[in-house]
Subunit: 324 residues, 2 copies
């Protein structure tokens, strides 16, 4: 049974009359076609949520009987009310050349990591690498991560859980942010990206050092900030209000001012105009790291505010993670 | 008693521990200062909503005991739950030269119009103009418009209500969109802007014709669209789901495809990537008119979709308004 058939059964089971559809930006091209198909086959009205969706932390409430979320796996610890996670599966794995290229750059004992879209490939890749003599470990899922070996942009538990058993990591995927998080947490282990789109492999190399220099610069620029803006997300899986209040209190103990800012989408435009000297982001941890060059004022992680205020040593620098 | 005193009493009355603050973009410079003042005087925690706020149609729900909204007057027909509208009043009116300059361009019988920020000036301006021999009318408020003579970007009732009694309008304000809506609805009446920022007056002139040419072009470009995306707002005072469903059904009767798109903030980025030939906007009517050049695909008003589908004649073209 294909995934649309399974969805149609769930729609019938709920007696749904209206169905909401949520897509990450990369899947928008499929939105109208899927909406039209569901409408004609199920006799319902579909409503596409056009607010961008960045993860299963970010399932928007919609005025519908059933919400269909595409492109992300549910976070096991979150409770979703009438949400169907439409599983797009993984594309066919036709050529393992890019995996061989990556493995050649790695030691014998390796951890295997990927994102949700390629998770279907992991058993075949593990098998292939073991036949070539590698010892392959795949970290188990947990409260926030649905699948073995899956990395989120804010949670690297499937890497850290197996750190003692491996001497390096092979990451199957196209971007650099996910493995970068692993490199920040586990500086001693080489990480190689096996990129299925380019069909090649590349070492993360000095990216970690470059990011650390950027973070050091942001902390230095925020050193004399009088007023901090503490950003809190509205998104269900990113809302860390308690942490934000703690950070505000910490800043005030150090005789700085701090105000809380609640927002749905963190963007340069959303922060324009306020009389704030530096921002601290408790929403998605990716934002401060990946988008740093887009922001005029320093944008810190919670741990970086601790460094600014002298509550944490730079040598104890860690990447921000959201943990359940 | 100043407005902050009044707010502090309301905070005490509600026993509020957390207070949300909502600002239009132009008032963001005052956000941190007001939040700090309220926190220190009322012993509460303030949370600034950083999502942009465009009107009293757009009062965001916040996880707080009391929400403070600045820069807009409440819409009488909407029910607000624990919302305090902080009235900033009008700036001092020191010089009436710009009013005289505007009146010189107008006939004897005129209607007086403005936005909420200058509403405090209307009695003095009316008095001044009457002394100069003008017959001055000010339209009464209604279900969506709180104050006499107040224009919204989506509601021109204070102009249309007095149309039969006047031969032209004097608009006190800085922008052109509000009086433009009046010009679209009442093509026979001259409209002059008395601009307090520049201290000068200007006739709306051929702006109406230029906008009509733009709208005609958008309709022409959408003529052969196969798939329409119907935009519905999440904002409390802009949500016209019933209208959107009617438009979808109308398009389908004419053998076009149509899908509904729900979003908080309508922006070019929010519409990128979807396989839609033309958009129809049931959210804030200003967007299709003012921001037309930012959108790659035609962005129509509901009435313009009717023209595209042959359900309305171009000669019966009207501006979109949201009415209660």
């Amino acid at each position: 049974m294909d995934e649309t058939e399974r969805l149609l059964e769930v729609i019938r089971g709920h007696g749904a009359k209206t169905v909401g559809l949520q897509f990450p930006v990369g899947l928008r091209t499929r939105a109208v076609e899927l909406a039209q198909e569901i409408e004609s086959r199920a006799g319902v009205t579909c409503i596409v949520s056009a607010d961008p969706s960045f993860g299963a932390c970010d399932v928007a409430e919609m005025p519908v009987d059933l919400t269909v979320h595409l492109g992300h796996a549910p976070m096991p610890h979150l409770r979703y009310d009438r949400v169907f996670f439409y599983d797009l599966g993984s594309p066919p794995l036709t050529d393992l050349g890019f995996v061989d290229a990556a493995a050649a750059l790695l030691p014998k004992r390796i951890g295997l990591l990927t994102t949700v879209q390629f998770r279907g490939w992991l058993p075949a890749i593990q098998d292939h690498l073991e036949k070539k003599g590698h010892e392959v470990h795949v970290g188990p899922p947990d409260k926030r991560v649905a699948y073995a070996g899956q990395l989120l942009g804010c949670d690297y538990v499937t890497a850290t859980e197996i750190a003692k058993d491996v001497d390096g990591y092979l990451y199957v995927g196209t971007g650099e942010f996910h493995p970068l998080g692993v490199a920040m947490l586990l500086p001693g282990k080489p990480i190689v990206i096996a990129d299925p789109e380019r069909g090649t492999a590349r070492d993360l190399g000095d990216l970690r050092d470059r990011i650390l220099r950027q973070r050091h610069a942001a902390i230095a620029r925020a050193h004399d900030a009088e007023t901090f803006g503490i950003i809190v997300s509205r998104k269900v899986g990113q809302a860390r209000m308690e942490l934000a209040r703690d950070l505000k209190a910490m800043a005030e103990r150090h005789e700085r001012k701090a105000s809380l800012f609640l927002m749905d989408l963190v963007s340069p435009e959303a922060l324009e105009g306020y009389r704030v000297d530096a921002w601290v982001n408790t929403a998605c941890p990716r934002i401060a790291i990946e988008d740093v060059l887009q922001y005029r004022k320093p944008l810190l992680t919670p741990q970086e505010l601790e460094v600014v205020l002298g509550e944490r040593d730079w040598k104890d620098y860690v990447f921000d993670e959201i943990r359940a």
